[in-house]
Symmetry: C2
Subunit: 368 residues, 2 copies
Amino acid sequence: MNRLQQVLDALVERIDTPAPIVLADVMQGNIDRIQGFADRHDLKVRPHVKTHKCVEIGRRQIEAGAVGITAGNVGEAEVFAAAGFDDIFLAYPIWAAGTKRARIRRLAESARLRVGADNVAAIEALADAMGDEPDRLQVVIEVDCGARRSGAPPEAAGDLALAARKRGLVPVGVFTYPGHGCVGRDARRRAAQDQEAALTTAVRGLEGVGVSAEVVSAGSTPTLEFSTSSVITEIRPGEYVFGDLNNARLGACTEDQIALFVAGTVVSDWVPGQVILDVGNKALSKEGSPEIGYGGVAGTKAVLSKVNEYHGFLLLPDGEFRPSVGTVVPVVPNHVCPVVLGFEELIVTDSTGTSLERWPVDARGFLN
Amino acid sequence: MNRLQQVLDALVERIDTPAPIVLADVMQGNIDRIQGFADRHDLKVRPHVKTHKCVEIGRRQIEAGAVGITAGNVGEAEVFAAAGFDDIFLAYPIWAAGTKRARIRRLAESARLRVGADNVAAIEALADAMGDEPDRLQVVIEVDCGARRSGAPPEAAGDLALAARKRGLVPVGVFTYPGHGCVGRDARRRAAQDQEAALTTAVRGLEGVGVSAEVVSAGSTPTLEFSTSSVITEIRPGEYVFGDLNNARLGACTEDQIALFVAGTVVSDWVPGQVILDVGNKALSKEGSPEIGYGGVAGTKAVLSKVNEYHGFLLLPDGEFRPSVGTVVPVVPNHVCPVVLGFEELIVTDSTGTSLERWPVDARGFLN
């Protein structure tokens, strides 16, 4: 991955560190590859925007063929709706309370809005929020397929769809998240099988109460290559757009497909076997462990063994490179999604490092 | 800490979750208490704004008697300088390159600017950045006292001060960060002793080359009660303003002094012994471990055993409370500093939950 160091060397006088650098050509390759995969398997792509929170990138996903977007909270959905995105799935068990009631109502006026629900109380709250226009809101029942996070048991999906219909909401299908597929290639395949079984059961449940499952929606970047069952209608990958070390370890992307890294500068080098980078947990988040580290310098074996807020402790294995103070290095995150949270903009270039654009992280913050 | 639940119950119709809630009266008590402590020991207070990134809170710290502020990066310093703060210490080994050169020059025009440095190359880069006005920039030499992060050996401080003076910069003193004091009460006291020893050596080093150490600056919230040595002139605590579970565990604050918590809603409850909150690692960061958890619900033994981006897994010990879907609960972070990163604003109330103001997190983002 020394290509990343070359890109940085070309950019270094025009940027400040820490900064998230996006290789637009590599990113476009990821967008096109997954769209092509989905097209071949007759799947719709509905990318999760939590990974980039950037309108410009969402547009490129739509241009490539995505049918709409997935958002993780009302704030993200609002930012993208305001930018003209008109087909939004809030793949989250939304609780409509406080000022969220009016916000959901407004969203449902400006876009075709689908929201997740996994229990009757939440469905009642959504219906209350919609006032006398519950039929403007489509509901997708969330079922659990083994991640033991949110989601009803698949057998409960029919009753939940019925509860939604009874209140005038429009049940349109089911979704799940195979989050237990993030621990190895076999786990990915098994989680995808669990996902298929859960969705199949849930679809039968809906059909059993006379609700047709127009939407049968599956996660995620690590499992998508195994999510080609005929029951599934759409996939909601997020991380695929950038890739990261976790996905590379899982075999869900190659290191050459990683399209985002954080440029960091060596600011101190007094401790033997270690230098300090200006990339800490506010830039990179604290994803990893002391064992695998919290991110690595591309093209080397050096990993961050610890991250304070503005300091990254880069451990230098024996015989490895020892960058001097002032050197700018490319840090590849373990998990890319939290990285955009702390930055106003992405520095967008290409694999030659010549072009330079700044794209706002439009939905930065906006967590509720 | 059931007081926090009462505050939430009073607020709940007016806010959306997740949201960071600040109790202004508790916060003001923290500001006044530490200022009083410092006054009694003849120490200046220069609070670190990385914890709150909020101009309004910085103003209250100044009104209470703080001599200026500490910032962790150029972006934070710029936001506070633009808001009228005119005495800023960038307590970080800044590397002046790229567009940071001009930014540092501009900052030094609008405020009395002090920056950290721990090596000769960084000093040279700072002097180059200042062009023909190096004397507008004050340099504080960073020394290490045992945290093994940034900072030169204390014995090197004199040479570094001399290198700064040689280039026309103005060396004014030394600083250190006793970060190894974050593991228990004894560690706090020992780290403070290490800090005193390192600063004493460094001051002698400056005096040895004819530089007077006007500034002898010490961290941090956990160590400050032991940082009353006569060699120290100022303290730079950050976390004291809000407090958090880590500081409570260390004995550096009481639970009643915690002034910030994150309001979260139970969104799903299908898994026995667990509910899912809408407080994940983007809201709370990933500070903690599976053993101690990633944050706890005030007034209960329930802790988050895992945090995904928008999902917090709240483990419910046997016989403990089991909040139903839709319940809003107060989540107290382990480490408060990363929490403000993901929010546009702080919801500011008081211990009765009646008042409600929204203060912008002005320096949210701005990591470089």
